[in-house]
Protein backbone atom coordinates (compact mmCIF):
# COMPACT_ATOMS: atom_id res chain seq x y z
CA UNK A 1 0.00 0.00 0.00
CA UNK A 2 1.33 3.44 -0.92
CA UNK A 3 1.81 5.47 2.27
CA UNK A 4 1.27 8.79 0.48
CA UNK A 5 0.57 10.81 3.63
CA UNK A 6 2.79 8.86 6.06
CA UNK A 7 -0.31 8.10 8.13
CA UNK A 8 -0.06 4.31 7.91
CA UNK A 9 1.88 3.02 10.91
CA UNK A 10 2.18 -0.16 12.97
CA UNK A 11 0.41 -0.51 16.30
CA UNK A 12 3.88 -0.70 17.93
CA UNK A 13 4.81 2.68 16.43
CA UNK A 14 1.41 4.11 17.48
CA UNK A 15 2.26 3.31 21.09
CA UNK A 16 4.84 6.16 21.02
CA UNK A 17 1.88 8.49 21.48
CA UNK A 18 0.62 6.91 24.72
CA UNK A 19 1.96 7.84 28.15
CA UNK A 20 1.17 7.92 31.88
CA UNK A 21 -1.43 10.44 32.99
CA UNK A 22 -2.77 11.19 29.51
CA UNK A 23 -6.39 11.57 28.45
CA UNK A 24 -7.85 9.18 25.87
CA UNK A 25 -11.16 9.51 24.04
CA UNK A 26 -12.39 6.12 22.87
CA UNK A 27 -15.03 5.10 20.36
CA UNK A 28 -17.48 2.33 21.16
CA UNK A 29 -20.78 1.50 22.82
CA UNK A 30 -20.81 -1.51 25.14
CA UNK A 31 -17.47 -2.48 23.58
CA UNK A 32 -18.96 -2.61 20.08
CA UNK A 33 -16.87 -0.37 17.87
CA UNK A 34 -13.98 -0.08 20.32
CA UNK A 35 -10.52 -0.70 18.76
CA UNK A 36 -9.26 -4.04 20.15
CA UNK A 37 -5.68 -3.90 18.82
CA UNK A 38 -4.97 -0.40 20.13
CA UNK A 39 -6.53 -1.30 23.50
CA UNK A 40 -4.23 -4.32 23.78
CA UNK A 41 -1.26 -2.13 22.84
CA UNK A 42 -2.13 0.31 25.65
CA UNK A 43 -2.44 -2.60 28.10
CA UNK A 44 0.93 -4.03 27.08
CA UNK A 45 2.58 -0.63 27.48
CA UNK A 46 1.44 -0.70 31.12
CA UNK A 47 0.68 3.01 31.34
CA UNK A 48 -1.61 4.23 34.10
CA UNK A 49 -3.34 7.26 35.68
CA UNK A 50 -5.34 7.56 32.49
CA UNK A 51 -8.42 9.71 31.99
CA UNK A 52 -10.77 7.78 29.72
CA UNK A 53 -13.66 9.48 27.95
CA UNK A 54 -16.37 7.56 26.12
CA UNK A 55 -19.93 6.26 26.20
CA UNK A 56 -19.45 3.55 28.84
CA UNK A 57 -16.81 1.34 30.43
CA UNK A 58 -17.70 -1.78 28.42
CA UNK A 59 -17.54 -5.10 30.22
CA UNK A 60 -14.61 -6.20 32.42
CA UNK A 61 -13.10 -8.22 29.55
CA UNK A 62 -14.54 -6.24 26.60
CA UNK A 63 -13.45 -2.97 24.99
CA UNK A 64 -12.10 -0.17 27.18
CA UNK A 65 -13.29 -2.26 30.15
CA UNK A 66 -10.04 -4.23 29.88
CA UNK A 67 -8.07 -1.10 30.79
CA UNK A 68 -10.51 0.08 33.46
CA UNK A 69 -10.81 -3.27 35.22
CA UNK A 70 -7.01 -3.50 35.54
CA UNK A 71 -6.99 -0.24 37.47
CA UNK A 72 -5.10 1.74 34.82
CA UNK A 73 -7.54 4.66 34.82
CA UNK A 74 -7.77 7.36 37.46
CA UNK A 75 -10.84 8.98 35.94
CA UNK A 76 -13.65 8.08 33.59
CA UNK A 77 -16.13 10.41 31.90
CA UNK A 78 -19.05 8.27 30.67
CA UNK A 79 -22.85 7.96 30.54
CA UNK A 80 -22.89 4.74 32.56
CA UNK A 81 -20.62 2.06 34.00
CA UNK A 82 -23.46 -0.41 34.62
CA UNK A 83 -22.10 -3.23 32.44
CA UNK A 84 -18.69 -3.22 34.15
CA UNK A 85 -19.01 -4.23 37.83
CA UNK A 86 -15.24 -3.85 38.32
CA UNK A 87 -15.55 -0.16 37.39
CA UNK A 88 -18.35 0.17 39.97
CA UNK A 89 -16.22 -1.52 42.60
CA UNK A 90 -13.21 0.74 41.89
CA UNK A 91 -15.51 3.77 42.07
CA UNK A 92 -16.94 2.66 45.42
CA UNK A 93 -13.44 2.06 46.80
CA UNK A 94 -12.48 5.60 45.79
CA UNK A 95 -9.90 4.32 43.30
CA UNK A 96 -11.70 5.58 40.22
CA UNK A 97 -13.18 9.03 39.77
CA UNK A 98 -16.32 8.93 37.60
CA UNK A 99 -18.08 11.85 35.94
CA UNK A 100 -21.47 11.04 34.41
CA UNK A 101 -23.16 12.86 31.54
CA UNK A 102 -26.50 11.86 30.00
CA UNK A 103 -25.66 9.71 26.97
CA UNK A 104 -26.67 12.09 24.19
CA UNK A 105 -25.18 15.06 26.03
CA UNK A 106 -21.88 13.20 26.37
CA UNK A 107 -21.93 12.44 22.63
CA UNK A 108 -22.65 16.10 21.90
CA UNK A 109 -19.88 17.28 24.27
CA UNK A 110 -17.44 15.13 22.30
CA UNK A 111 -18.86 16.39 19.01
CA UNK A 112 -18.53 20.01 20.23
CA UNK A 113 -14.90 19.38 21.10
CA UNK A 114 -14.41 17.85 17.68
CA UNK A 115 -15.85 20.80 15.76
CA UNK A 116 -14.04 23.51 17.69
CA UNK A 117 -16.86 24.72 19.94
CA UNK A 118 -16.41 25.44 23.66
CA UNK A 119 -19.83 24.09 24.60
CA UNK A 120 -23.58 24.22 23.97
CA UNK A 121 -26.88 24.82 25.76
CA UNK A 122 -29.16 21.96 26.78
CA UNK A 123 -32.30 21.46 28.87
CA UNK A 124 -31.63 17.78 29.62
CA UNK A 125 -31.52 17.00 33.36
CA UNK A 126 -32.31 20.58 34.48
CA UNK A 127 -34.19 19.25 37.52
CA UNK A 128 -31.53 16.69 38.41
CA UNK A 129 -28.76 17.86 40.71
CA UNK A 130 -26.38 15.19 39.42
CA UNK A 131 -26.59 16.70 35.92
CA UNK A 132 -27.20 20.37 36.66
CA UNK A 133 -25.00 20.79 39.76
CA UNK A 134 -22.30 23.43 39.29
CA UNK A 135 -23.25 24.23 35.70
CA UNK A 136 -23.83 27.76 34.48
CA UNK A 137 -27.43 28.55 33.51
CA UNK A 138 -28.24 30.64 30.47
CA UNK A 139 -31.61 32.18 29.67
CA UNK A 140 -32.67 32.22 26.01
CA UNK A 141 -36.05 33.81 25.22
CA UNK A 142 -37.32 33.19 28.74
CA UNK A 143 -36.27 29.54 28.95
CA UNK A 144 -33.37 28.29 31.04
CA UNK A 145 -30.64 26.01 29.74
CA UNK A 146 -27.52 24.41 31.17
CA UNK A 147 -24.13 25.22 29.69
CA UNK A 148 -22.54 21.91 28.74
CA UNK A 149 -18.82 22.10 28.04
CA UNK A 150 -16.94 20.47 25.17
CA UNK A 151 -14.62 17.48 25.61
CA UNK A 152 -11.31 16.86 23.89
CA UNK A 153 -8.37 14.59 24.78
CA UNK A 154 -4.68 14.09 24.11
CA UNK A 155 -5.43 11.12 21.85
CA UNK A 156 -8.59 9.70 20.30
CA UNK A 157 -8.77 6.00 19.49
CA UNK A 158 -11.25 4.95 16.83
CA UNK A 159 -12.40 1.76 15.17
CA UNK A 160 -13.38 1.79 11.48
CA UNK A 161 -14.46 -0.83 8.98
CA UNK A 162 -12.39 0.73 6.19
CA UNK A 163 -9.77 3.43 5.88
CA UNK A 164 -7.77 4.67 2.94
CA UNK A 165 -4.20 5.99 3.39
CA UNK A 166 -5.54 9.52 3.95
CA UNK A 167 -7.74 8.28 6.84
CA UNK A 168 -11.07 8.66 5.07
CA UNK A 169 -13.29 6.35 7.09
CA UNK A 170 -16.26 4.06 6.67
CA UNK A 171 -17.79 2.52 9.77
CA UNK A 172 -19.73 -0.73 10.13
CA UNK A 173 -23.44 -0.70 11.08
CA UNK A 174 -23.97 0.00 14.79
CA UNK A 175 -20.19 -0.06 15.38
CA UNK A 176 -20.28 3.51 14.07
CA UNK A 177 -21.86 4.79 17.33
CA UNK A 178 -19.51 7.37 18.90
CA UNK A 179 -16.58 6.77 16.54
CA UNK A 180 -17.18 9.67 14.10
CA UNK A 181 -17.47 12.07 17.07
CA UNK A 182 -14.42 10.70 18.87
CA UNK A 183 -12.43 10.84 15.63
CA UNK A 184 -12.85 14.62 15.51
CA UNK A 185 -12.19 15.41 19.17
CA UNK A 186 -8.65 14.14 19.80
CA UNK A 187 -5.62 16.44 19.65
CA UNK A 188 -4.23 13.41 17.84
CA UNK A 189 -6.48 10.76 16.28
CA UNK A 190 -5.39 7.17 15.74
CA UNK A 191 -7.71 4.88 13.80
CA UNK A 192 -7.69 1.09 13.87
CA UNK A 193 -9.09 -0.13 10.56
CA UNK A 194 -10.36 -3.59 9.80
CA UNK A 195 -9.37 -3.04 6.18
CA UNK A 196 -7.00 -0.49 4.64
CA UNK A 197 -7.88 0.18 1.02
CA UNK A 198 -5.99 2.09 -1.73
CA UNK A 199 -6.40 5.83 -2.15
CA UNK A 200 -9.23 6.52 -4.56
CA UNK A 201 -11.05 3.25 -3.94
CA UNK A 202 -13.61 4.75 -1.54
CA UNK A 203 -16.50 6.64 -3.07
CA UNK A 204 -16.14 10.26 -1.83
CA UNK A 205 -19.96 10.41 -1.44
CA UNK A 206 -19.90 7.56 1.05
CA UNK A 207 -17.04 8.60 3.33
CA UNK A 208 -18.35 9.08 6.87
CA UNK A 209 -15.34 10.77 8.48
CA UNK A 210 -13.06 12.84 6.23
CA UNK A 211 -9.40 11.91 6.62
CA UNK A 212 -8.54 15.47 7.61
CA UNK A 213 -9.44 14.50 11.20
CA UNK A 214 -7.21 11.41 11.19
CA UNK A 215 -3.48 11.48 12.01
CA UNK A 216 -2.54 7.79 11.96
CA UNK A 217 -4.04 4.50 10.85
CA UNK A 218 -3.10 1.07 12.20
CA UNK A 219 -4.28 -2.30 10.90
CA UNK A 220 -6.69 -4.22 13.14
CA UNK A 221 -5.97 -7.73 14.36
CA UNK A 222 -9.70 -8.10 15.01
CA UNK A 223 -11.81 -8.55 18.10
CA UNK A 224 -10.20 -10.99 20.55
CA UNK A 225 -12.79 -10.95 23.32
CA UNK A 226 -15.92 -13.03 23.81
CA UNK A 227 -19.15 -11.02 23.60
CA UNK A 228 -21.72 -11.16 26.42
CA UNK A 229 -24.19 -12.88 24.07
CA UNK A 230 -21.77 -15.57 22.82
Amino acid sequence: MENTFNKLISVEKAMDYFYDGMSILFGGFGGIGSPPTIIDGILEKEISNLTLIGNDTGFPHIGIGKIVSRGRAKKVIASHIGSNPVAGQLMNEGKLQVEFSPQGILAERIRAGGVGLAGFLSDIGMDNEMVSGGKMRVNIDGKEYLLETALTADVSIVYARKSDPYGNLIFDKSARNTNPLVAMAGDLTIVEAEEIVPLGSLNPEEIMTPGVFVDYIVPSKGVNWKWAWE
Binding site: G30, I32, D56, Q103, G104, V131, K173
Partner: protein
Protein backbone atom coordinates in the same frame (compact mmCIF):
# COMPACT_ATOMS: atom_id res chain seq x y z
CA UNK B 1 -38.81 -9.51 38.71
CA UNK B 2 -40.69 -12.52 39.99
CA UNK B 3 -43.32 -11.97 37.36
CA UNK B 4 -44.75 -14.89 35.40
CA UNK B 5 -44.26 -15.12 31.66
CA UNK B 6 -48.03 -14.79 31.13
CA UNK B 7 -48.20 -11.54 33.05
CA UNK B 8 -45.20 -10.08 31.25
CA UNK B 9 -46.76 -11.03 27.91
CA UNK B 10 -50.07 -9.52 28.91
CA UNK B 11 -48.45 -6.19 29.78
CA UNK B 12 -46.39 -6.23 26.57
CA UNK B 13 -49.51 -7.04 24.52
CA UNK B 14 -51.39 -4.10 26.02
CA UNK B 15 -48.44 -1.76 25.38
CA UNK B 16 -48.31 -2.92 21.75
CA UNK B 17 -51.87 -1.59 21.25
CA UNK B 18 -50.50 1.93 21.73
CA UNK B 19 -48.17 1.68 18.75
CA UNK B 20 -49.61 3.02 15.51
CA UNK B 21 -48.45 2.61 11.94
CA UNK B 22 -45.49 4.85 11.03
CA UNK B 23 -44.30 5.54 14.56
CA UNK B 24 -40.66 5.77 15.68
CA UNK B 25 -40.44 3.88 18.97
CA UNK B 26 -37.63 3.34 21.49
CA UNK B 27 -37.94 0.31 23.76
CA UNK B 28 -36.23 -0.16 27.11
CA UNK B 29 -34.90 -3.48 28.37
CA UNK B 30 -37.06 -6.16 30.03
CA UNK B 31 -40.81 -6.24 29.33
CA UNK B 32 -40.59 -3.45 26.70
CA UNK B 33 -38.40 -5.70 24.55
CA UNK B 34 -41.33 -8.16 24.28
CA UNK B 35 -43.66 -5.56 22.76
CA UNK B 36 -42.72 -6.16 19.07
CA UNK B 37 -43.99 -9.75 19.40
CA UNK B 38 -47.55 -8.41 19.73
CA UNK B 39 -47.63 -5.94 16.85
CA UNK B 40 -50.12 -6.69 14.08
CA UNK B 41 -48.50 -7.47 10.71
CA UNK B 42 -49.89 -4.32 9.09
CA UNK B 43 -48.35 -1.97 11.66
CA UNK B 44 -44.99 -0.77 10.36
CA UNK B 45 -42.76 0.76 13.01
CA UNK B 46 -39.19 2.02 13.05
CA UNK B 47 -37.63 0.87 16.29
CA UNK B 48 -34.94 3.31 17.38
CA UNK B 49 -31.76 2.49 19.31
CA UNK B 50 -29.59 5.05 21.09
CA UNK B 51 -26.38 3.66 19.60
CA UNK B 52 -27.53 4.68 16.13
CA UNK B 53 -30.09 2.38 14.51
CA UNK B 54 -33.47 3.42 13.15
CA UNK B 55 -35.37 0.35 12.02
CA UNK B 56 -34.31 -2.51 14.28
CA UNK B 57 -35.77 -5.92 13.53
CA UNK B 58 -35.95 -9.16 15.50
CA UNK B 59 -32.98 -11.03 16.98
CA UNK B 60 -30.98 -12.99 14.41
CA UNK B 61 -31.02 -16.77 14.35
CA UNK B 62 -28.31 -18.44 16.39
CA UNK B 63 -25.09 -18.45 14.37
CA UNK B 64 -26.25 -15.51 12.22
CA UNK B 65 -25.25 -12.79 14.71
CA UNK B 66 -23.20 -9.83 13.48
CA UNK B 67 -20.97 -8.44 16.25
CA UNK B 68 -21.21 -4.98 14.71
CA UNK B 69 -25.00 -4.96 14.63
CA UNK B 70 -26.33 -4.77 18.16
CA UNK B 71 -28.95 -2.86 20.13
CA UNK B 72 -28.11 -0.34 22.86
CA UNK B 73 -27.94 -3.20 25.37
CA UNK B 74 -25.20 -4.87 23.31
CA UNK B 75 -27.26 -7.78 21.98
CA UNK B 76 -27.38 -8.75 18.31
CA UNK B 77 -30.33 -7.53 16.26
CA UNK B 78 -31.29 -7.33 12.60
CA UNK B 79 -32.62 -4.40 10.60
CA UNK B 80 -35.84 -4.04 8.62
CA UNK B 81 -36.28 -2.65 5.10
CA UNK B 82 -35.82 1.13 5.21
CA UNK B 83 -33.52 1.04 8.23
CA UNK B 84 -30.59 3.41 8.65
CA UNK B 85 -27.50 3.81 10.81
CA UNK B 86 -26.20 7.03 12.32
CA UNK B 87 -23.76 8.11 15.01
CA UNK B 88 -24.84 8.43 18.66
CA UNK B 89 -25.04 12.25 18.54
CA UNK B 90 -27.58 12.06 15.71
CA UNK B 91 -29.48 9.23 17.45
CA UNK B 92 -29.99 11.53 20.45
CA UNK B 93 -30.67 14.46 18.14
CA UNK B 94 -33.70 12.50 16.92
CA UNK B 95 -34.87 12.16 20.53
CA UNK B 96 -34.32 15.79 21.56
CA UNK B 97 -35.82 17.15 18.34
CA UNK B 98 -39.07 15.29 19.07
CA UNK B 99 -38.78 12.74 16.26
CA UNK B 100 -39.16 9.74 18.56
CA UNK B 101 -42.91 9.25 18.99
CA UNK B 102 -42.86 6.93 21.95
CA UNK B 103 -40.68 5.29 24.51
CA UNK B 104 -41.78 2.27 26.52
CA UNK B 105 -39.69 1.67 29.62
CA UNK B 106 -39.67 0.08 33.05
CA UNK B 107 -39.63 2.01 36.31
CA UNK B 108 -39.05 1.70 40.05
CA UNK B 109 -41.59 4.40 40.94
CA UNK B 110 -43.99 6.74 39.16
CA UNK B 111 -45.72 9.65 40.90
CA UNK B 112 -49.33 10.74 40.42
CA UNK B 113 -48.07 13.67 38.36
CA UNK B 114 -45.95 11.51 36.08
CA UNK B 115 -42.55 11.89 37.72
CA UNK B 116 -40.32 8.99 36.66
CA UNK B 117 -37.74 7.38 38.97
CA UNK B 118 -36.15 4.49 37.11
CA UNK B 119 -32.40 4.84 37.29
CA UNK B 120 -31.17 4.49 40.85
CA UNK B 121 -31.76 1.20 42.63
CA UNK B 122 -31.99 1.70 46.40
CA UNK B 123 -28.87 0.66 48.28
CA UNK B 124 -26.72 0.50 45.16
CA UNK B 125 -24.19 3.04 43.96
CA UNK B 126 -25.26 5.01 40.94
CA UNK B 127 -24.21 3.20 37.75
CA UNK B 128 -25.00 6.24 35.57
CA UNK B 129 -28.08 7.46 33.76
CA UNK B 130 -27.22 6.27 30.26
CA UNK B 131 -29.80 7.62 27.82
CA UNK B 132 -32.83 7.41 30.14
CA UNK B 133 -33.10 11.12 30.91
CA UNK B 134 -33.20 12.24 27.31
CA UNK B 135 -35.78 9.61 26.39
CA UNK B 136 -37.99 10.37 29.39
CA UNK B 137 -37.78 14.11 28.86
CA UNK B 138 -38.06 14.29 25.07
CA UNK B 139 -39.91 11.29 23.63
CA UNK B 140 -43.38 12.51 22.60
CA UNK B 141 -45.14 9.84 24.65
CA UNK B 142 -43.69 8.00 27.64
CA UNK B 143 -45.29 4.69 28.62
CA UNK B 144 -44.16 2.91 31.78
CA UNK B 145 -44.65 -0.84 32.05
CA UNK B 146 -44.01 -2.34 35.48
CA UNK B 147 -45.33 -4.42 38.37
CA UNK B 148 -48.05 -2.62 40.28
CA UNK B 149 -46.19 -3.22 43.54
CA UNK B 150 -42.60 -4.01 44.53
CA UNK B 151 -41.37 -7.35 45.87
CA UNK B 152 -42.60 -6.46 49.36
CA UNK B 153 -46.02 -5.46 48.08
CA UNK B 154 -45.42 -1.71 48.42
CA UNK B 155 -47.08 0.48 45.76
CA UNK B 156 -44.85 1.68 42.93
CA UNK B 157 -47.39 4.31 41.89
CA UNK B 158 -47.03 6.94 44.60
CA UNK B 159 -47.96 10.49 45.58
CA UNK B 160 -44.37 11.59 45.25
CA UNK B 161 -41.29 9.53 44.38
CA UNK B 162 -38.88 8.66 47.19
CA UNK B 163 -36.11 7.77 44.72
CA UNK B 164 -34.12 10.31 42.68
CA UNK B 165 -36.02 11.37 39.57
CA UNK B 166 -35.02 10.52 36.05
CA UNK B 167 -37.33 13.27 34.83
CA UNK B 168 -40.27 15.16 36.34
CA UNK B 169 -43.81 15.05 34.92
CA UNK B 170 -42.84 13.02 31.85
CA UNK B 171 -44.97 9.85 32.11
CA UNK B 172 -48.17 9.76 30.01
CA UNK B 173 -49.34 6.23 30.69
CA UNK B 174 -48.70 3.37 33.13
CA UNK B 175 -49.41 -0.27 32.32
CA UNK B 176 -49.07 -2.72 35.22
CA UNK B 177 -50.04 -6.32 35.92
CA UNK B 178 -53.27 -4.98 37.49
CA UNK B 179 -54.34 -1.86 35.64
CA UNK B 180 -53.78 0.88 33.08
CA UNK B 181 -53.59 4.57 34.01
CA UNK B 182 -53.43 7.73 31.94
CA UNK B 183 -51.72 10.79 33.35
CA UNK B 184 -52.98 14.12 32.06
CA UNK B 185 -54.01 17.56 33.20
CA UNK B 186 -56.51 16.04 35.62
CA UNK B 187 -53.85 13.84 37.18
CA UNK B 188 -53.93 10.07 37.40
CA UNK B 189 -56.92 8.33 35.81
CA UNK B 190 -57.64 4.60 35.99
CA UNK B 191 -58.80 3.64 32.51
CA UNK B 192 -58.51 -0.15 32.44
CA UNK B 193 -58.55 -3.11 34.79
CA UNK B 194 -56.73 -6.33 34.02
CA UNK B 195 -59.09 -9.20 34.76
CA UNK B 196 -59.76 -10.25 37.60
CA UNK B 197 -58.74 -7.11 39.55
CA UNK B 198 -61.31 -4.68 40.93
CA UNK B 199 -61.16 -0.92 41.53
CA UNK B 200 -61.03 -1.63 45.28
CA UNK B 201 -57.97 -3.84 44.84
CA UNK B 202 -56.30 -1.18 42.72
CA UNK B 203 -56.96 1.41 45.45
CA UNK B 204 -55.43 -0.91 48.06
CA UNK B 205 -52.26 -1.34 45.99
CA UNK B 206 -51.79 2.23 44.80
CA UNK B 207 -49.98 4.82 46.92
CA UNK B 208 -52.07 7.83 45.86
CA UNK B 209 -55.58 8.88 44.87
CA UNK B 210 -56.79 8.53 41.31
CA UNK B 211 -59.89 9.19 39.24
CA UNK B 212 -61.77 6.34 37.62
CA UNK B 213 -62.63 6.78 33.96
CA UNK B 214 -66.35 6.76 33.08
CA UNK B 215 -65.44 4.36 30.31
CA UNK B 216 -63.48 1.93 32.47
CA UNK B 217 -62.55 -1.09 30.37
CA UNK B 218 -61.74 -4.59 31.57
CA UNK B 219 -58.94 -6.47 29.76
CA UNK B 220 -59.27 -10.23 29.65
Amino acid sequence: MGMGVDIRSRIAKRAAEEIKNGMVVNLGIGIPSLVPNYLPKDVHVMFHAENGITGMGPSPLSGKEDENLCNAGGFPVTVVRGASYCDSAIAFGMIRRGRVDMTILGSLEVSETGDLANWIVPGKKVPGMGGAMELAQKAKKVIVVMNHTDKRGNPKIVKSCSLPLTSAGCVDMIITDMAVFQIGENGLILTELLDPFTVTEIRENTGCDFLVSERLRVIE
